[in-house]
Symmetry: C2
Subunit: 234 residues, 2 copies
């Protein structure tokens, strides 16, 4: 019987058909098993699922749902082993320094997938990048990501030396002033409450132009504006 999720576990889970199909699509070898609620056996979702998963991975159990599911309307839970990858050197990277909110983490993964970023560096300490809440917020995009954790930004940079753009409220340069680059780059974002320390300023720091009426933007909001802009610079 599966237990309630804890951070130290070597597995996590995703709830609902859509993200479970994402798990099967991108990370089939990470699949541990799939719990299906008995009342879902005759649904189109389950029929489709049973076509792509071997039967010995499927467990019919209403008990698992009473214990695990966060919302009442999910009929499937995909349990998966946590994974960690090396980033792809020849891609653009997103770097999150000490992100503290699981919802933001998942939301950023979803935006990354939407705008063609697949490589995510996370500088610890950070929110649990595999918690069911993160997975849910990602809508399954987490399975399409390469995610690598680092003890420090310096360690990241020594492994993946490159041009990087730190997003800092202190910067004088606005997002709209940025010109297209052909280099591999990283977009770097700080913690929700504290942002990036001054030490990150490197001549490429960017501030997203915003009214003086707000303290700052939400982290996931700042990240998606940056991603969309960088993918659309002319």
């Amino acid at each position: 019987m599966i237990k309630t999720y804890v951070k130290s576990a070597d597995y996590s889970y995703t709830a609902g058909f859509y993200p479970t199909f994402e798990l099967l699509k991108y990370r089939p070898s990470s699949l541990k098993c799939i719990y299906v609620a008995e009342e879902a056996i005759n649904t189109p979702g389950f029929k489709k699922l049973s076509e792509v998963v071997s039967k010995d991975k499927i467990i019919f159990s209403n008990k698992a749902f009473n214990k695990l599911r966060e919302k009442g309307n999910d009929h499937v839970i995909g349990v998966f082993y946590k994974f960690e990858d090396l980033l792809e050197k020849n891609n653009q990277h997103i770097v999150l320094v000490n992100p503290s909110d699981q919802g933001n983490l998942g939301n950023i993964m979803r935006s990354m997938l939407a705008f063609g970023y697949r490589d995510l560096a996370i500088i610890d300490p950070s929110a649990d990048s595999f918690s069911p809440k993160t997975v849910r917020a990602s809508m399954g995009a987490i399975f399409a990501m390469r995610i690598q954790h680092f003890d420090s930004f310096a360690k990241y940079l020594s492994d993946y030396s490159r041009l990087y753009y730190p997003f800092m409220l202190q910067s004088a340069k606005g997002l709209k002033e940025i010109k297209k680059t052909n280099e591999n780059y990283a977009l770097v974002f700080g913690n929700e409450a504290t942002g990036l320390p001054d030490s990150f300023a490197n001549g490429h720091a960017i501030k997203i132009e915003q009214s003086k009426d707000v303290d700052s933007l939400n982290l996931a909001t700042a990240a998606v504006l940056a991603m969309y802009y960088f993918k659309n610079i002319k």
Copy 2:
């Protein structure tokens, strides 16, 4: 003694110094009272607060915090009477049709304030636009908004007839193709799960260009991309 928040109450609250100052700045007449934790009496935040609020509005009580606060690190709770406004006809509007997530609602308010939108129409049924969770996600931006609820989009349009851009995955036109307009406009977004019904298509529908790898964007994400783009069209 204040009670745990319920949707039917005529008041709600905000936790933490920053959003409480936003309440005092934008909605001083909506203030009911402020609870302050006894251990915060000697903090700079409280000193600043005591300079701008009359003493009879301040209640020292640790009990209120045990009962109300969502996170352990807040030392002040601003209780306010809910408000409703008419929108400003001569401004641009954001229209949310049946939004279901309080976090998204608050997050969108925060982005609105960041990019100069102050007028928010909400088509019911919707998530509680005054719940403490919404208020928290808005970081106090809610107090700077004019918010008006409507029973239907038709009712909104009959009150505020204008050019409107519905955001729909079905649309053929990408965000980047949109040209600057001098008319007053509304940006219209549907429910998180279901989007806007086909009936909204009006020749101005917009799709945010995204990879085929994601189902859709998060609502707050789509909204902020639209807002940023519209404020920066040349």
